[in-house]
């Protein structure tokens, strides 16, 4: 993978204070801004992304500074957003589309699967579709139906798409820029629950050299068992690791970051040391990314496994009404319970 080249020349003001304490949402905002400054072909488009700055304010201020031709308040139709973005990409633009909520992506599913994913292969590489589809995803916000879903497996299942999920402010700042620079279409999943969480604020050094986009990362070292997660589940996994420490268990936590292509090298390496794997995701378990990880780990680490791969996921139900979501979502106790079951095997 070519090392990402990113714009660091942000002017004297930026370099004077290249380290800022940012929420995940603000980091995304600054990342989008940096990408737009670096490349005039980058467009932001979606419902309410302009004047309002997006319902989550992730695109706040961009239209004011870059104009209505670069930050498009689109008509309210998701297939239209993605379908026109394909044409803009063919024309040479790099559209960054916002899907307002995870559960609203399905009207665009046809365009994503039939055109976005396949144009490059269909044309034997002559037509590139460099676009990013940003999707605020996951639950825990007490919302009505269709606002809390985790549809990432549909897209990871689709050849031609790349799929990533950020879990923290530093990644959010860099990954969005790397995704925009990628010549492949990228589904970019953002843990909406943590957009504005003060406790997830982190120091983002905009002058640093970022990690590669399509690479998973060990975010906590340990040796008792491996916990793999991504997006909003990273916080649950890290909380579980902290709690497990009190019981004398050192959990190793890996943030997948890239969901397609999966980068399971660090997971295999970890499981060969710990012999135990727990995969955490808010998405339902059946035929999902967590299934894929379990299958691949048993294939690659068969003789290292001391226990079956266990999964802590959302249930195989439609996302429940808000008063039930705390039962649906993986939480610290369910992760610890899985750790205990793995250790007792």
């Amino acid at each position: 993978m070519a090392a990402p080249v990113l714009n660091k020349a942000d002017g004297a003001a930026a370099s004077a204070r290249s380290v800022q304490s940012l929420t995940l949402g603000k980091a995304l905002n600054l990342g989008l801004r940096a990408a737009m400054e670096a490349d005039p072909k980058v467009l932001v488009m979606g419902e309410d992304v302009g004047k309002l700055g997006g319902v989550f304010r992730i695109t706040d201020g961009l239209q004011k500074d870059f104009g209505e031709h670069r930050v498009l308040d689109t008509p309210l139709a998701e297939s239209g957003i993605i379908g026109t973005a394909v044409g803009l990409a063919v024309r040479g633009f790099r559209p960054v589309c916002e899907i307002q909520f995870d559960g609203f992506i399905f009207p665009a599913f046809d365009q994503i699967v039939s055109q976005v994913a396949k144009l490059h292969a269909r044309t034997l590489g002559r037509v590139k579709v460099p676009m990013v589809i940003r999707v605020p995803f996951g639950g825990g916000i007490g919302a009505v139906e269709h606002h809390s879903e985790s549809p990432e497996s549909y897209f990871a299942h689709t050849a031609g798409l790349k799929v990533v999920a950020c879990s923290n402010a530093v990644d959010a700042y860099w990954m969005i820029q790397q995704a925009i620079r990628c010549d492949d279409p990228v589904l970019f999943f953002e843990p909406k629950r943590f957009y504005h969480s003060g406790f997830l604020k982190a120091d983002v050094d905009t002058a640093a050299t970022p990690a590669p986009l399509f690479a998973s990362r060990v975010v906590r070292r340990g040796h008792t068992a491996t916990v793999v997660a991504y997006g909003p589940s990273i916080k649950v996994a890290l909380d579980a690791a902290t709690a497990a420490e009190d019981e004398g268990h050192a959990l190793e936590v890996i943030d997948l970051r890239t969901l397609s292509p999966l980068d399971l090298g660090p997971v295999f390496e970890s499981v060969r040391r710990t012999g135990r794997l727990i995969v955490v995701s808010e998405a339902p378990a059946e035929s999902s990314l967590t299934s894929e990880i379990a299958a691949r780990v048993q294939q690659e680490c068969f003789y290292s496994l001391e226990a079956p791969v266990l999964r802590v996921t959302g249930f195989d139900t439609p996302y429940p009404a808000a008063k039930l979501e705390e039962h649906f979502l993986p939480d610290l106790d369910r992760v610890l319970d899985a750790v205990d079951r793995s250790l007792a095997w």
Binding site: A85, V127, K128, C182
Partner: protein
């Protein structure tokens, strides 16, 4: 004469709306007869009998069309039809998996295609072999799709002819986006402006993507000509299964002009398309054109139209043939001599032979082709899968298996 749009009743009647709008048996018969007419709004410059009719609005868009130009349009249509018939035969002989005939739609496609300038972009569905021809794409380059060796082999950036789109209506949104990009690039607003033309059928007008394409193009003032070939049939479903309203009238609801042209009249289609493209390149887009035509053959080679339409209808449309009216006109008014027609015929024969020989010689693609262009940037997971597969197939080398 009654026309299909009169089957619907603008005034509410008793009973459910759908029932109230159902045509009577008499209206169906009258309507079937009327499908060759297209209604009073139809723009026609050359009658089926080959007579030039004056049109104060559109004459000027073909004022400079000479006999030589008309001969060139005739030649285009004959060659495209011959390639179409040859490909159809190649399918019947097992050389192609399927073919999508354009028979009967030559004038609509050549008229629209020849109205475009080289910088204008076209987004086809999968029946636009005639438009492809006008964009400099040889019929040979279409065969891979239907023989199953690739999904389209032409360079869409260089030819300004997007890959064929098979999912009905998808390309309308893609074209709207492309046309928005032409505007964002500052390529719209004067005589040198660029425009885009998107091709779809009457069936596609029911798709949400086409509706959304109308909305997007309208609100972004995109230089986009929606070119709907109403060939009367979406496989087995007639146009009245898609709409109560003549299709061109839908444009009004979106706030841009819609016009119905005789799609079997290459001169009228050329004129109306030039007008529409002109409007678009000057920034007055989008425009909807409904080219009223007829699918003379089956939907594809897998289809059997005798199950759903009367042969009378086909016979009536044969009298409106797009090529014959130009031939008659050229002959009657001295635009071409016998030598011209013979030379075009000879050229068509040579094209058919070329197409046939090319088809027979097409190699199967190498297995790794399916892996090679899934991504623009590497995917280690897919690369590993490819390598494993290639190693597996390499084990068969030498023919032991």
């Amino acid at each position: 004469m009654s026309s299909p749009e009169q089957w619907t009743h603008p005034e509410p009647r008793e009973g459910p709306a759908a029932t109230a709008a159902a045509p009577t048996a008499e209206q169906v018969i009258a309507g079937l007869r009327a499908t060759s007419e297209g209604g009073p709004e139809l723009v026609q410059l050359l009658t089926p009998e080959g007579e030039r009719v004056q049109n104060p609005r559109f004459d000027r868009y073909v004022a400079e069309v000479t006999a030589a130009d008309l001969r060139a349009l005739y030649r285009d249509m004959v060659l495209v039809r011959r390639a179409d018939r040859e490909a159809n035969a190649l399918q019947r002989q097992g050389q192609l998996g399927i073919w999508v005939p354009l028979l009967g739609q030559e004038a609509a496609q050549i008229g629209a295609g020849r109205a475009m300038r080289p910088a204008d972009m076209a987004f086809p569905s999968y029946r636009e072999h005639g438009v492809a021809w006008t964009k400099g794409i040889h019929p040979k380059e279409l065969l891979g799709i239907f023989r199953g060796t690739d999904h389209g082999s032409w360079d869409s950036a260089e030819t300004r002819f997007h890959p064929y789109t098979i999912v009905i209506g998808n390309q309308v949104l893609n074209a709207a986006g492309y046309a928005m990009g032409q505007r964002f690039d500052g390529k719209v607003g004067d005589d040198d402006g660029e425009a885009t033309m998107v091709f779809f059928g009457d069936g596609a007008t029911s798709q949400g993507d086409v509706h959304e394409g109308f909305v997007w193009a309208a609100v972004y003032d995109a230089p986009l000509v929606f070119f709907c070939q109403n060939n009367q049939w979406a496989i087995s479903e007639p146009t009245e299964r898609q709409s109560r309203l003549p299709l061109y009238q839908r444009a009004r609801g979106y706030g841009f002009p819609g016009i119905r042209v005789d799609g079997n009249d290459v001169l009228a289609t050329l004129a109306v398309s030039r007008w529409a493209l002109d409007e678009c390149r000057h920034g007055n887009g989008p425009v909807l054109i409904e080219a009223f035509t007829y699918r003379m053959d089956a939907h594809t080679t897998t289809d059997d139209p005798t199950r759903y339409r009367h042969s009378d209808e086909l016979e009536a449309w044969k009298l409106k043939d797009p090529i014959e009216r130009v031939r008659v006109h050229l002959v009657r008014y001295g635009g071409a001599d016998q030598g011209f027609f013979e030379s075009v015929q000879a050229e068509a024969d040579a094209l058919a032979v070329e197409l046939r020989e090319f088809c027979f010689a097409m190699p199967d693609p190498p297995p790794r082709q399916m892996f090679d262009h899934v991504y623009a940037e590497p995917s280690p997971v897919l690369d590993a899968q490819r390598d494993e597969f290639l190693a597996y197939t390499a084990g068969f080398a030498g023919g032991e298996h």
